[in-house]
């Protein structure tokens, strides 16, 4: 079963992107407590302990959520909205993942309370650098409110 203690909740429907990102995080030992959800619905069920994850102790919230915007069924924006409108999950840092920096959804994400965003560049190196840096910052440097 999935451990209660989760460092990173990674929500990404594209397996290739997910695999490459997880590889990069693993390389820097940040994927030990990483949970990968393949769509928004699954992610919400995990976060709020419903559906498949009924009974999960939701007080043990992930330290960081990496959330892709473009997903089937429930997209990243909707997931973000749910997280940020619930007092239990509002303080979890959320980093949005997007394909383009011109994406109008970036503005929407910030308005809804996203903490940062990463553009997934075609250039893999740039992507891996960004993942690593943001992961470090939010996991290790940032002090969540008690």
């Amino acid at each position: 079963m999935i451990a209660d203690s989760v460092d990173i909740l990674f929500v990404e429907d594209n397996f290739n992107d997910a695999e490459l990102a997880i590889r990069e995080l693993k390389k820097h030992h940040m994927a030990n407590n990483l949970v990968h959800m393949e769509d928004g619905e699954e992610a919400l069920e995990f976060i709020f302990g419903t559906g498949k994850f009924k009974g999960r102790n939701i007080t043990r919230a992930p330290k960081l959520i990496l959330l892709d915007i473009q997903m089937p069924k429930i997209n990243g924006i909707e997931v973000l909205q749910k997280i940020k409108s619930d007092p239990r999950t509002r303080t979890i840092p959320v980093i949005m993942l997007t394909s383009s920096k011109e994406d109008p959804d970036i503005q929407k994400s910030y308005a809804l309370g996203a903490n940062s965003y990463i553009v997934k560049p075609v250039d893999f190196k740039g992507f891996s650098d960004a993942i690593r840096n943001l992961g470090f910052y939010w996991l290790l440097l940032n002090q969540p409110p008690v």
Partner: protein, 600 residues
């Protein structure tokens, strides 16, 4: 000065055209009425005047004739009495030779003829005009005063009134009757009478002929004229015209009409006259009435014309108001003009036109709304299309590069140099694909974005871009020449894109020069600012100029200069969205100049 002059001129020149329709019609009608009234009045006045004058003259002529007859009649009894005395036996006999015995008897007869004090003297003359006997009322000296006159009056065989003579303050006239014996004239009986009209008689006359009229008596030979009271100077009489009437001006310049007639049995003329003005009084009164009636008619005419023109212009004004309301987009007020005349028809035609215009406009608006909805839908479709391009096309590219990178990092020992070269080619091509997608998206987004215009400090913007692209203190060898650049009113982001693309092109294409030189500047021509970016780089072949600003069109091989062929297309699109123009000059190996002009 000149201005004042032209102003005055404008004020002074009155133009009929400058009047409104409502003013023009009454003016025209009143002018017409005035002309008609004046002409009609004048013709009528002339007619009435002529008729009045003719009537007056006719009256005058008949009056003169009647008076002449009347006087002539009144002479008859006197003449008869005189002739009776002249025929008396004693009178005849006293003129016969040796008839002196009858003197007493004859004198007695003569004395009988002196009826009152006006009969001053009765004489009996022989055929040689020698006084035979006489009777006098007063003294002998009266007779001596008449002696000188005895030769004067004509003698013939008919009894007659002689000419009037003046003696001192008085006038006298003789009544002469021949004395005949055996059908021969043997002498003359002459009665002298004082010419005197009593005031009562004069009054009767004036009643008879009218107060303004004047009556004159005179000798037929014109030797004396009198108004019955005094001798008057009355030389204007036309003795040749004793049947009609004549006109003359008196000493005061007053026009008089007169008629003179001989009085039968006398040597006298009678003349009646009165001022023409009296005759014309009626005509003048008629003229005054005409003027008053004419004035009233003109005022009424103007009033009617004004009402008429108002009834014409009021609907026109309504139409005008309705037309300007429609021009302002208000269709809700139809013109209320009643009647079946041209104006009523015009109004109903106008109303139906307004309805049609409104319907057409409504249709048009509906169509615009419909099209806008369609356009918005297709815009949204395009938006989601480009969104999915940017997401979905990139994902495989990311995977390709990502996994090739994994291959390079984690399987580096298992790849020989050729395999490593191939992985590099795969990565580069994929990167290029990514760049192409980005450029294409940027270009397509341009067409949809709204322009937000602000005042741009061009010089500042260009300096920033140059520092961004090729910092001057970065040891680059480019020689920058930046000439004065006027401000631009446009969309800051888009204009920045234009300068960025042009300057980065200039840097790129002059990069392999020994001494690259890039110049920017502007010149202002006919309210348009034209900007340019010039380099001394590879330039381009003028033959292919037409392709410069087209998407994905390149004039250089990728192996020579990198690029996707979108940059200049973006420049062209932005400038044309701003209402400006873009063009280029260049020659192979001689550098290129890019110009864009923006309306001020």
């Amino acid at each position: 000065m000149v201005k004042n002059k032209s102003l005055n001129k404008r004020r002074m020149s009155f133009s009929f055209r400058s009047l409104s329709l409502q003013q023009r019609l009454p003016l025209l009608i009143s002018m017409l009425l005035l002309a008609i009234m004046v002409t009609f009045s004048w013709i009528s006045y002339i007619g009435v005047k002529t008729a009045a004058l003719e009537t007056g003259k006719e009256r005058l002529r008949s009056l003169a004739s009647q008076l002449s007859v009347m006087f002539s009649r009144s002479t008859q009894s006197i003449l008869a009495a005189t002739q009776a005395t002249a025929n008396h036996e004693s009178v005849i006999k006293v003129l016969q030779p040796g008839g002196s015995e009858f003197r007493g008897q004859a004198l007695e007869e003569l004395q009988k003829l002196r009826l009152d004090s006006t009969w001053v003297l009765v004489e009996l003359l022989d055929i040689n005009r020698q006084l035979v006997i006489y009777s006098e009322r007063d003294s002998a000296h009266v007779k001596s005063r008449f002696d000188s006159l005895q030769q004067a009056f004509p003698l013939n065989h008919l009894a007659k009134f002689g000419k009037i003579y003046q003696l001192g303050d008085f006038m006298y006239y003789p009544i002469i009757a021949p004395v005949t014996h055996d059908n021969r004239v043997t002498g003359y009986l002459v009665r002298w009478r004082l010419l005197a009209a009593s005031p009562k008689a004069l009054e009767q006359f004036s009643q008879l002929i009218g107060t303004k009229a004047k009556l004159y008596f005179g000798n037929a030979d014109g030797s004396l004229w009198t108004n019955m009271t005094n001798v008057v100077s009355y030389q204007k009489i036309d003795t040749g015209n004793l049947r009609g009437s004549f006109e003359y001006l008196d000493a005061k310049g007053e026009k008089l009409i007169a008629a003179a007639r001989p009085i039968a049995n006398t040597s006298w003329l009678i003349s009646v006259e009165f001022p023409e003005q009296i005759v014309l009084q009626m005509a003048n009164r008629f003229l005054r009435q005409l003027i008053i009636i004419g004035g009233i008619l003109i005022i009424v005419g103007i009033l009617i014309a004004w009402l008429m023109s108002r009834s014409l212009t009021k609907p026109l004004n309504k139409l005008m108001l309705a037309a300007s309301a429609i021009a302002d987009g208000q269709y809700s007020s139809p013109v209320k003009v009643h009647g079946n005349d041209e104006l009523g028809k015009l109004a109903s035609a106008f109303n139906s036109m307004a309805v049609q215009v409104q319907n057409a406009r409504q249709d048009l608006e509906n169509k615009v709304i419909e099209r806008t909805v369609q356009l918005e839908a297709s815009n949204r479709e395009l938006e989601s299309y480009s969104y999915s391009i940017s997401h979905d096309l990139r994902a495989p590219l990311r995977a390709i590069i990502g996994f090739v990178s994994v291959l390079e990092d984690e399987y580096t020992n298992k790849l020989d140099p050729e395999a490593k070269r191939i992985t590099t080619v795969i990565k580069d091509s994929t990167m290029k694909m990514g760049q192409l997608i980005d450029d294409l998206l940027a270009f397509s987004r341009l067409g949809r974005n709204e322009i937000v215009k602000t005042n741009i400090n061009t010089r500042e913007m260009v300096n920033e871009i140059i520092n961004e692209l090729a910092p001057v203190n970065d040891g680059n060898k480019i020689e920058w020449i930046i000439r004065p650049l006027p401000g631009i009113y446009g969309d800051a982001n888009m204009i920045r894109q234009v300068w960025t693309n042009l300057i980065s092109n200039a840097i790129k294409y002059s990069g392999n020069k020994e001494k690259p030189r890039i110049e920017t500047g502007a010149f202002i021509d006919k309210e348009q600012a034209t900007f340019f970016v010039r380099d001394n780089g590879v330039g381009f072949d003028e033959k292919y100029k037409g392709k410069l600003f087209k998407v994905f069109q390149r004039l250089h091989r990728s192996s020579e200069f990198e690029g996707t062929g979108v940059g200049l297309a973006i420049v062209e699109k932005i400038i044309s969205k701003h209402g400006g123009k873009v063009w280029a000059e260049g020659a192979a190996a001689k550098g290129a100049s890019f110009y864009f002009s923006l309306p001020a």
